[in-house]
């Protein structure tokens, strides 16, 4: 075990290096750039045997990843914001062809107006693309989840691409101590990818065949089925990862929800701040809790129902707007999961942090207090709170 000082981006690059990736095809974009920049240095310095494909756009980057993955290679890329948007059509092709590509996504706002800072508009805008989507809280989690992502993606029951989402700047550029596993530990944990099928000139196959009205639907149904295996595979992978690193992961993480009257649900770095505030409020005797979702797609419906079964009020933090919808995407998912369950607490939505606007402990305390009030009165005062916007 070695603790290294590194940014979230560097932690992802280091994880990709130790994962013995065969091919990286990428295009730089802030705040992801350091990931592929660092990886290109590994290649130039001969630290890895990886083929590095420089391309002219993110659309080409993911296209090259798709072609490479089809040959049976282990493939990694990274992007952000406009880059992810430019990849949009290829995202569906990667999942439709069932390719276990892993991609670091440094979450960043989408234009217009131009902004390079962190929010979840990019991945939330592509959330229906059929990829497994994981959100991390800090650099350590970025490192750990990148390694685990390969194992989940390449599992025979899954065979799907994974995006590892890290908040732009807050995680990507902040230096933290990261506990790094030894190279051989990661190599033994992951082993070499064994594809179910691959492109081979000696044994030609057809991929991406034409499927009209009589077949297309069946292949989409297969993708739904593949996603339904993810939870079990993730738990299995996390258990094995814990046995070799000592660090424990799951589908979601909770703090104080067992006896909480009010809880907040969040993704990514916000969870750390929310837990700190909850700790303070609980010391004052206020029954609050925090649920951090690691796995956002497939959405952990049963797990959320289970952890919130005795909570009376819930605030869901969305770092992206779903324009024209009743709620942000994350809140809509939570409402669907709880409303169709046995018991449904009162739920309200908190939109925050757009374009990288800071969320302060005092902001989160306001939300906790509003949630506690809702738990007591049973009345949602404000269905959507635009936290931290100037009126």
């Amino acid at each position: 075990m070695t603790v290294m000082g590194m940014t979230g981006d560097e932690a992802v690059a280091h994880a990709a290096k130790q994962s013995n990736v065969d091919i990286v095809a990428a295009y730089p974009i802030t705040p992801q750039t350091i990931i592929v920049e660092r990886f290109s240095k590994y290649v130039a310095d001969g630290e890895v045997q990886t083929g590095y494909i420089c391309v002219e756009s993110e659309h080409s980057a993911l296209s090259a990843c798709i072609g490479s993955s089809l040959t049976g290679a282990r493939v990694f890329t990274a992007t952000s914001s406009q880059g992810l948007a430019l990849m949009h059509e290829m995202l569906y092709i990667a999942s439709g062809l069932r390719l276990p590509i892993v991609m670091g996504v440094a979450n960043r706002a989408l234009s217009a107006p131009i902004n390079i800072h962190g929010d979840h508009s990019d991945m939330m805008g592509s959330r229906d693309c059929g990829w497994i989507q994981i959100y991390v809280e800090n650099a350590q989690e970025a490192y750990d989840w990148t390694i685990q992502a390969f194992k989940i993606a390449e599992d025979y029951e899954v065979q799907l691409p994974v995006s590892v989402n890290l908040d732009g700047f807050i995680i990507t550029h902040c230096v933290e101590g990261v506990d790094v596993a030894e190279d051989d530990v990661v190599a033994k944990f992951l082993r070499t990818r064994k594809p179910l099928f691959k492109l081979d000139p000696q044994k030609p196959i057809t991929v991406g065949a034409l499927c009209f009205t009589d077949y297309y639907y069946e292949f989409k149904r297969q993708q739904v089925d593949a996603l339904s295996h993810v939870n079990a595979v993730l738990n299995r992978v996390a258990k094995e990862y814990k046995s070799v690193t000592g660090r424990s992961y799951a589908i979601l993480d909770t703090y104080g929800v067992e006896d909480a009257e009010a809880a907040v649900l969040c993704l990514g770095s916000t969870a750390g701040t929310a837990r700190e505030v909850a700790r303070k409020l609980r010391a004052q005797g206020k029954k609050v809790g925090v649920v951090k979702i690691w796995l956002y797609r497939p959405f952990p419906v049963d797990e959320i129902r289970a952890v919130l079964k005795s909570v009376k009020a819930v605030a869901v933090f969305d770092k992206a707007v779903s324009f024209g919808a009743q709620h942000g995407a994350f809140c809509s998912d939570v409402v669907s999961a709880l409303h169709t369950g046995d018991k449904c607490p009162k739920i309200f939505n908190v939109i925050f942090g757009l374009g990288g606007r800071d969320i302060k402990p005092s902001d989160i305390e306001l939300v906790f207090n509003q949630a506690l009030e809702t738990a007591k009165s049973g009345v949602v005062k404000e269905e959507t709170v635009f936290l931290g916007v100037r009126e």
């Binding site: 179910l196 196959i205 057809t206 991929v207 077949y215 089925d225």
Partner: protein, 95 residues
């Protein structure tokens, strides 16, 4: 729920992968045709411009004049358009 005889999603290969190469030959696209190219053997000089232009490789080379493989000809009419001797006519399919 479909009562179709085609296999259900559990029985189909993952991601529509086709392990047997060349299977597109089994997909006869000739029934897409609304107009059918008909070769006038008297006019055809066997110059093979149609054979070069045909996007479906549906022109068949013969000793003296070309013939059409109607299993795959989609009736696009490029052959008739390109023929320098106007030896190919597009006739409406009678279906």
């Amino acid at each position: 729920m479909s009562s179709d005889e085609k296999p259900g999603w559990k029985k189909l290969p993952m991601a529509a992968t086709i392990a047997e190469p060349g299977s597109s030959l089994k997909y006869k696209t000739g029934d897409w045709r609304a107009f059918k190219p008909v070769v006038d053997e008297q006019k055809c000089v066997n110059c093979l411009l149609c054979w070069i232009y045909c996007p479906d490789s549906a022109i068949v080379r013969q000793e003296k004049w070309v013939t059409i493989n109607y299993d795959y000809c989609k009736g696009c009419g490029i052959c008739a358009q390109e023929c320098p001797k106007q030896a190919i006519k597009m006739e409406e399919e009678q279906k």
